[in-house]
Amino acid sequence: MNYSIEAENLNLWYGDFQALIDVNVKIPHGQITSLIGPSGCGKSTLLRCFNRVNERYGNVTTEGKIEVLGKNIYDTDVSLPELRKAVGMVFQRPNPLPISVYENILFGLRIHSPMRSITKADADAIVEEALKSVFLWTDLKDKLKARATSLQLEQQQKLCIARLLPLKPKIILMDEPCSALDAKGTRAVEELMEILAGTYTFVIVTHNMAQARRVSKECIFMFLGELIEHRETQSLFTDPQHEKTSDYVHMRYG
């Protein structure tokens, strides 16, 4: 079995508060893994460790080891821009940049390549391909110059996925990507993930257990900073091994 992410003895503190307690996890390559658990149990925190975006908050201390694609990302020689190029992230609230649709898609490439090294023809082709992979091309091909922040939420979220693709990431992290969307938008994003899985490894945090069951092959249940159970999704839901998991999947925590 091939693993995209392997975390060992991961502990994390926000100031004095320990948000992750001795987490060990292996996330398989090329499929969708979901991360569930009650509010505040550390799902987002764990997810945000995988591309080290947690460190934006000044008060974070991390201990342990996380190997992403076979490399410990806490080694001193790791380059954050390179890590984040390989590990893309989609946030809870769609957050396209306040520039055009076209420039949003190219943003990643532009910051990772020398000035003016992308020709207009290449750029056009890249934008078209990225938008086609998220099925936005027909809707947006005449609106490439429109401000991305003026699109519908569903389109914004798909655009946020599309803008990761030109960087050819290996892993895409998603933190409740559908919570700002309606049922139709949710369905569309899920379908998109199913199509893209295989090419990319997905880790998705969700509050929606039905969604976890629909899209993910493996599922991780967390509780108060600890990883309680990590198994194949269907068996985690039908035959939970831990009492806490069982309580949660039977909605006893609300």
Partner: protein
């Protein structure tokens, strides 16, 4: 249902009605003052402006001889050039410093350092302009003589440096507000795509905050254009089309300040000074109006 109904004015207690009236008066008085000032300045200058003054000469001639006995001339061109050149040079210094400081304060500072910085910047803004003029007259004067080997240090450069120091605090505080108003999710989005700090700043923050930053620059410029005392003291105060930063100049504001005390009320010279006032009023009004429109533009987004 009676209790829930909105109280009509009539049954407000007397004291509240008095307070409301008072606050209303305060609000209206602001408007009255602005119009009142404009009206007064305009009235004093209007007679000569429409009847007697050669407007073309006023705007294009460099001959400013209001006190000559047999050849009075009111050419304000050199004064206009003086005001604009000293302001432009001041902005060339103040804008990079002001925006740089704003970026530093909003993006790089620890919260504690930020507070200290803000206090210092407010202090800088509170220094009276005559004190700046005093510094220009003594310290900066000496410095320019030594550094540039100039015969005299009271020059456009000197005035610009003083104006720059005065407008930097305005630019910093408005620009910092503009940067703060950029949602953190934009920074996070860019960082998660692998942008470095500098890339976040010049690819995301500056474009996102550009209206606010422009407004900051314009308000800083408006401050410079209207400034009087410091430029009167630091620029040499002599009517001259500057040939470089080390030329002396005279500004519109300084002319009014220096000459208004010595003219007879109502004569031509007196009225011309008021016409200069109208000109200044118009310039700063336009600059402020543009800044306002720019700021409104941000809000609508």
């Amino acid at each position: 249902m009676n209790i829930l109904r909105k109280k009509s004015k009539a049954n407000l207690p007397f004291s509240e009605r008095v307070i409301e009236l008072f606050i209303r008066l305060c609000g209206i008085s602001c408007i009255i003052f602005v119009f009142g000032i404009f009206f007064f300045v305009f009235r004093e200058g209007a007679g000569f402006l429409f009847n007697g003054l050669n407007l073309t000469e006023f705007l294009t001639s460099v001959e400013w001889q209001p006190t000559s006995l047999n050849n009075k001339r009111y050419g304000a061109f050199a004064l206009i050039v003086g005001t604009f050149s000293v302001t432009t040079l001041a902005m060339c210094m103040a804008v990079p410093f002001g925006l740089g400081a704003a970026i530093f304060v909003s993006e790089f500072c620890s919260p504690k350092l930020r507070e200290t910085f803000k206090i210092i910047i407010e202090l800088l803004a509170a220094i009276p302009s005559v004190v700046w003029g005093f510094i220009g007259l003594t310290l900066m004067n000496q410095l320019i003589i030594q550094v540039f080997n100039a015969p005299i240090g009271l020059t456009m450069l000197n005035g610009s440096i003083m104006l720059a120091l005065m407008s930097v605090p305005i630019i910093v505080s408005i620009a910092e507000d503009a940067l703060k108003a950029v949602p953190d999710s934009y920074r996070e989005a860019a960082e998660a795509l692998g942008a470095t700090r500098w890339q976040v700043i010049y690819r995301v923050l500056l474009p996102a905050a550009k209206n606010g930053l422009l407004a900051a620059v314009l308000l800083g410029a408006a401050r410079s254009i209207g400034e009087t005392m410091a430029v009167l003291m630091a620029t040499g105060h002599s009517v001259n089309i500057p040939s470089g930063p080390l030329s002396w100049i005279r500004t519109l504001t300084a002319t009014i300040a220096a000459e208004l005390g010595e003219v007879a009320r109502g004569d031509e010279h007196y009225q011309v000074l008021f016409i200069i006032g109208i000109l200044l009023f118009t310039i700063t009004f336009v600059v402020n109006l543009i800044a306002d429109l720019v700021i409104k533009g941000i809000r609508q987004e």
